[in-house]
């Protein structure tokens, strides 16, 4: 893994690195394995720590700990020695990490699309010539009533030292008691009767961001199983979730998520 360390500084945080390790071009998407990802992720940690950015290092460590837990779970011979609660908690963490990776990837691709728009628009320049001289005399004197002390006060306003930035803590978003299975059960109990509901309606009453992400993952799971359709009529419009499955056909693939 030594050869990776030199590239570490190009990764903007742990999600960036994980997405790179999992989705990089030269890897067959069907040959990805957790063991390999964990090894490579850890290989990068040295480089991150060497950058002496404590905050960044912590972010990488939190993700690395989750990955190592997941890998350790795999090395065990069976479920015999494992506390059920611990195992569930671990898989919740994995699902949350997955949801956050999906979200990060979504916005990364959206960012690239914005860049393409900007590139295309950048081939055209706006007219900025402004008022011709003969009209300038008519324009109101913008400095009417402005005094030297006003200018000085404006300078003091902009040059005042900024207040220290608030500390950003990522750890407060972790522990929420919700599982994928509960989220899927809730969807399955509501959607067939309602036919169609917005994602907003499906997440009503949920205040924690992570609960909403898990709910979103549950929607994705049902979508993958062909039980629902997802649509969005307009940009920024509500996500519309439509039930297209049969009532008895549920939960076939749920073992994917509860381990």
């Amino acid at each position: 893994g030594v050869s990776y360390a030199v590239q570490t500084d190009v990764f903007e945080g742990p999600f960036d690195l994980l997405l790179h390790l999992i989705l990089r071009d030269e890897v067959d998407l069907y040959e990805i394995s957790l063991s390999r990802i964990v090894d490579e992720f850890l290989a990068h940690l040295d480089g991150v720590a060497a950058a002496l950015d404590l905050e960044l290092t912590t972010e990488f460590l939190v993700i690395a700990a989750t990955l190592v837990d997941l890998k350790a779970r795999r090395l065990l011979p069976g479920p015999v020695d494992v506390e059920v609660d611990e195992e569930l908690a671990l898989f919740e963490q994995r699902d949350l990490l997955l949801a956050r990776l999906i979200e990060a990837k979504t916005f990364r691709d959206a960012g690239n699309a914005l860049e393409h728009l900007a590139q295309a628009a950048g081939r055209s320049w706006p007219r900025t010539a402004g008022l011709e001289e003969r009209f300038l005399a008519l324009a109101p004197d913008l400095l009417a009533g402005v005094t030297p002390p006003d200018v000085h006060a404006a300078w003091l306003r902009v040059s005042a030292p900024a207040p220290p930035p608030p500390r950003v803590a990522l750890d407060h978003v972790q522990p929420v008691k919700v599982t994928m299975e509960e989220a899927v059960q809730d969807l399955v109990s509501r959607l067939p009767g309602a036919g169609q509901l917005t994602f907003r309606a499906l997440t009503e009453g949920l205040s924690e961001r992570i609960e909403i992400i898990v709910r979103f993952l549950a929607v994705l799971e049902l979508y993958k199983q062909g039980l629902i359709d997802i649509g969005q009529a307009i940009t920024f419009g509500d996500l519309e979730v439509t039930w297209v499955g049969e009532e008895g056909s549920v939960l076939a693939g749920m073992d994917t998520y509860d381990g």
């Binding site: 903007e12 945080g13 742990p14 999600f15 960036d16 999992i22 989705l23 998407l29 069907y30 990805i32 394995s33 957790l34 990802i37 905050e55 960044l56 972010e59 993700i63 990955l67 997941l70 779970r73 795999r74 994995r94 699902d95 990490l97 997955l98 956050r100 990776l101 999906i102 990060a104 990837k105 979504t106 916005f107 990364r108 959206a110 960012g111 699309a113 914005l114 860049e115 728009l117 295309a120 628009a121 055209s124 320049w125 706006p126 007219r127 010539a129 008022l131 930035p165 608030p166 950003v168 961001r209 994705l220 993958k224 969005q232 307009i234 940009t235 920024f236 994917t256 998520y257 381990g259």
Partner: protein, 188 residues
């Protein structure tokens, strides 16, 4: 014979240095905003039909004369400043988060990106793509950010509603499955 209103619109747009909203043109020309849009669309179509080297574009909520994109190779050589430098991938990702989730705080951006966003947001503010749009009513009163009019102009779109829907960028099944495998969720 061109209408007086169309000619007046051309004259005003020629001295404007930012997009002129139809409401303002309507007030100055004493016609309705809808009629302003019609007139400007007709003018834009005429310039296109005449194969002019400029366009009249509806961007960032108003009308503005711009050079025709075809002629970028010539204009590039003329314009001293050139186009603004490109944004880094981190800045683009952050810009997308602000564009689609606004109003949004730096902390919220950081949660999505998994990394502190202060420096990137500061850069985007200096570049003018992002601006403060309010304060979170909750404790701490975090500054909330949104995209600016300049952002719309740089992207060449009229309003946020003209951006591609975020749903277009949700990864496909193959990618989601790859991510699941990467986290060991495939065969437990």
């Amino acid at each position: 014979m061109a209408s007086e209103a169309a000619r007046a619109a051309e004259a005003i747009l020629m001295v404007a240095d930012e997009p002129v909203e139809p409401q303002l043109l309507a007030q100055l020309l004493e016609i309705s905003p809808a009629r302003v849009d019609e007139l400007c669309e007709e003018l834009a179509a005429a310039y296109q039909a005449e194969d002019r080297g400029f366009v009249l574009a509806r961007v960032a909520g108003g009308w503005r004369f711009r050079s025709h994109p075809d002629l970028a190779p010539y204009v590039e050589r003329f314009v001293l400043d050139g186009q603004p430098s490109r944004l880094s991938p981190a800045a683009l990702e952050t810009l997308a988060i602000v564009a689609y989730k606004q109003p949004v705080s730096r902390a919220q951006v950081a949660v999505i990106r998994g990394v502190n966003a202060d420096a990137v947001v500061r850069t985007l503010c200096q570049r003018g793509y992002v601006e403060e749009v309010g304060r979170d009513p909750g404790p701490g009163q975090a500054i909330l950010y949104g995209t600016s009019r300049l952002f719309l102009e740089r992207l060449g779109v009229d309003s946020l509603a003209d951006l591609p829907p975020l749903g277009d960028f949700v990864p496909g099944a193959e990618v989601v499955e790859a991510l699941e495998r990467g986290l060991g969720a495939d065969d437990t």
